[in-house]
């Protein structure tokens, strides 16, 4: 039996099996998305809130492809540039999804898609008061993380790098500090480009990793989804196992004594 299985993530009282959270955007089709979700082992999946296409009913709804018994939906407020918009989308999401969870994004800039932290704090205040389980997408600023915590978020989700950039964790020191200071789970959100990026995030002590483009944009999304599932588990176990210290020089792994006579 594998070790570390008793190591369960809990957010706002909800036990979560997998420390990999995945998005549902940018897949070639819903069949591909379903397979990717399945093999990734993820339980929490993010979705966006958009208008129904009333002129063309043909298009199947995303939710037909997602087994709600198996997955926890985490609606986002992607595309919102003001606190008002983000609050409006969060409320629509709650109405449509019958769940209080929201990945709160208030974007501050089109090129980086970095958050507008001022507006994020305003929106967080309102939504927490309305009983939402708020998981805010923020930058890697420990001061922001603490302010969000003080407002009552369920977790903080610092970015590792710009959304979809695939640059990996640009500032591991900040992520580590955020985790050391945090009293709520820390989820690295955005920037993961390949498996080792996810492993590094977990080795820093983070509680989970959220990604979308890193999987959906890979040449073979299914394989990458499997890779990410393994990578997150590997990073978590390595963190729990306690790595060896780094040294500039070598230490033999075979015994020095017992050599035959020269």
């Amino acid at each position: 039996m594998a070790t570390g299985c008793e190591d369960i993530l809990e957010i706002a009282g909800q036990k979560i099996r997998s420390r990999l959270f995945v998005g549902t955007g940018k897949y070639a089709g819903s069949q591909q998305m379903k397979e990717a979700l399945e093999i990734s082992g993820a339980q929490v999946v993010t979705v966006a809130v958009r208008r129904v296409n009333i002129s063309d009913r043909s298009r199947e709804s995303l939710l037909d492809a997602i087994d709600l018994e198996k997955y926890i939906l985490l609606p986002n407020t992607a595309g919102c540039y003001t606190a008002e918009d983000a609050i409006r989308y969060a409320r629509l999401a709650r109405e449509a999804g019958l769940s209080d969870w929201v990945k709160l994004e208030v974007i501050g800039d089109e090129k980086t898609l970095y958050p507008d932290n001022e507006a994020l704090l305003q929106a967080t205040k309102v939504l927490v008061k309305e009983g939402f389980i708020v998981l805010p997408y923020t930058n890697d600023d420990p001061v922001m993380a603490r302010k969000l915590e003080d407002l009552g978020v369920a977790a903080v989700m610092p970015l590792g790098a710009p959304i979809g950039s695939g640059l990996g964790i640009q500032n591991p020191n900040n992520i580590r500090i955020i985790k050391e200071m945090a009293r709520v789970p820390v989820i690295v959100d955005a920037g993961v480009g390949t498996a080792s990026d996810a492993t590094v995030a977990m080795e820093l002590g983070c509680d989970a990793v959220l990604m979308n483009t890193g999987i959906a944009g890979a040449q073979d999304p299914i394989r990458m989804a499997e890779a990410m599932g393994l990578a997150v588990r590997a990073g978590r176990l390595a963190y729990l196992a306690g790595r060896i210290p780094k040294k500039s020089y070598a230490t033999a792994s075979s015994p020095a004594e017992g050599m035959v006579a020269r």
């Binding site: 955007g25 958009r50 009333i54």
Partner: protein, 66 residues
């Protein structure tokens, strides 16, 4: 009568109720949320509320996103 749904003009039965409208549009009730003139309409009230000419509706659902 004419209303605006998701930004497009649309002819709908006079004083249609929202619940009826959702059927009329062949949408799945449990998958959508509705805003009427910028206020969210709680699902449980869809049976009661009927539209007036010129009403502005937003009907949303979940799509793939990150």
């Amino acid at each position: 009568m004419e209303v605006t749904i998701n930004g497009e003009p649309k002819s709908v039965p006079d004083s249609v109720r929202i619940a009826e409208l959702i059927d009329f549009l062949e949408l799945k009730k449990e998958r959508v949320a509705v805003e009427l003139n910028c206020f969210i309409v709680a699902r449980k009230t869809w049976e009661d509320i009927s539209l007036k000419p010129g009403d502005k509706l937003e009907i949303i659902h979940f799509v793939g996103g990150g």
